[in-house]
Symmetry: C2
Subunit: 294 residues, 2 copies
């Protein structure tokens, strides 16, 4: 057993790792390919381990050190059936613990404190830690969930543009810009929408926020609906002594001015990112172990 801890943020576009000493000082970093454990367990495992190897090399440590470190890996899907355990068994570390991406994001944002974290990117999801206990809601995907996600904002934009084209709902500079982009042909919007992945819809989220900021009524309506949905989800998690709410993800800053004062008054800047959270949890695990061994 060395004195080293590795935190790994296993993401859908890349895995990032950082190796730290038992005080939490990061001495090396690594990055590799993506981890999507539910759709490709084998390559995900490879990339998780590869990111750790790169971090050790960056810290000028022997490759063999990998078998003596303690690691915490955060990855989406870790709580689905036995996926997390299957990865834990296959990891080459002295001890490797696999947790959800939500937990490392929450640890990174809040440290050891209680609070609520809402993440707004292509999807939307909420996690709370209250008296040390975790509770997560949302994140069900844009077809039947993720009401405040970039994907839903983009899908709403397309729907309102078609309603404006049909003169069912009022048009606006934004809906006219969208129709113009598709040659004023609703069939082309329908064609896009029926093959669009969440990320394709989410590309339009910044467009919605830009128009909303300029006072476009349709854009403001879409963002207001999404902000109301955020409020409903925060309300489901909030308790009176909740010390802080952190907004994460690419759309966090854009949503902030649209939230009601009830939630804005509790907003706090995240302390760190998800990788930082994974490192903190790994260092904790290392210190717990050494106390156990003493």
């Amino acid at each position: 057993m060395t004195e080293l801890a590795i935190g790994i943020d296993g993401g859908g576009t890349s895995c990032r790792a950082a190796v730290a000493d038992r005080s939490g000082n990061v001495i090396g970093r690594g990055r590799s390919g993506p981890a999507n454990i539910l759709s490709d367990l084998e390559n995900s495992l490879f990339n998780i381990v590869e990111s750790a190897r790169y971090a050790l090399r960056d810290a000028r440590l022997d490759a063999e050190a990998i078998s003596s470190v303690v690691s915490v890996v955060g990855v989406a899907g870790a709580n689905v059936t036995d996926y997390g355990q299957r990865i834990e068994k296959a990891l080459p570390f002295a001890e490797g613990r696999v947790v959800t991406d939500a937990l490392i994001a929450l640890q990174g944002a809040l440290g050891d404190a209680d609070g609520i974290v809402g993440a707004f990117g292509t999807g939307s999801v909420y996690n709370a830690r209250r008296d040390g206990r975790l509770n997560g809601i949302g994140g069900w995907g844009f077809v039947v969930g993720d009401q405040a996600s970039g994907a839903r904002l983009g899908r709403d934009l397309m729907e309102r543009s078609l309603l404006a084209h049909d003169q069912v709902r009022p048009a606006s500079p934004m809906t006219e810009a969208v129709m113009a982009e598709y040659g004023n042909d609703p069939e082309r919007i329908v064609e896009f929408a029926h093959s669009a992945r969440p990320t394709d819809f989410a590309r339009y989220a910044p467009v919605v926020f830009e128009h909303a900021a300029k006072g476009d009524a349709v854009a403001a309506g879409i963002v207001t609906d999404a902000a109301t949905a955020i409020g409903e989800s925060l309300e489901a998690l909030l308790w009176s002594e909740c010390p802080s709410i952190c907004l994460l993800g690419g759309l966090a800053g854009a949503y902030e001015p649209w939230l009601s004062e009830r939630y804005r008054s509790r907003l706090a800047k995240p302390k760190g990112d998800a990788l930082q959270g994974a490192v903190e949890l790994a260092v904790k695990l290392l210190n717990d172990q050494q106390r156990g061994a003493a």
Copy 2:
């Protein structure tokens, strides 16, 4: 040239044909496989012609009669680029005209009168004839349109059930029944939703109406939203002298009590179905031609 007209309702599940004399008396009927011209032009053409052959046989007419009849074929997609013309050119009739499914449905429901037709099945679409001119809106599919469709009702049901599961919105007997159907496992609902076709979601539309009739608050909310959407679309088409509004499709009767009095007061029973509309148009075409030839 015979004295016969054939009307064909080329639908996504089957083609139906009826052969009539120049007074519109139906003397034979036929049915064949589906017509989905945008996805399978060749088989659609085959089935359209096959339904006509069956109708002629049913009327105890020679197979050769097909080359001397006048026909009107109503089929979805007839107005998309040159699909309608391509079918017209390939038909074996003395004269064959290809029109949209919307037009034959409107003709069947309204006859030659002005009015508005709203169709509510797996999708939702509206057509008006005002001073003889046609205007259609909606029908853009459930991803970004069809707000009052069975598919949207079912999708909304799944979304509200997940929100109730997360305690973000109130639960109801209906949302609890849906969660129970999926073993109280939100992941299973998400799995269903991400592979569901419009018809899969639409299977739940009767469930929503049943619960709404019993006073289930979530169900009533979903149906009220859809009825509001119907009102908005009707409003976009309505004019003060509009003689009647006809509701068509499997959900027409279920929606009726939920519409506002403004629209309910103008409701009229459809005179006939889409096949009847196709026959009427075919008989008109036959008589116009014979007048032209006289």
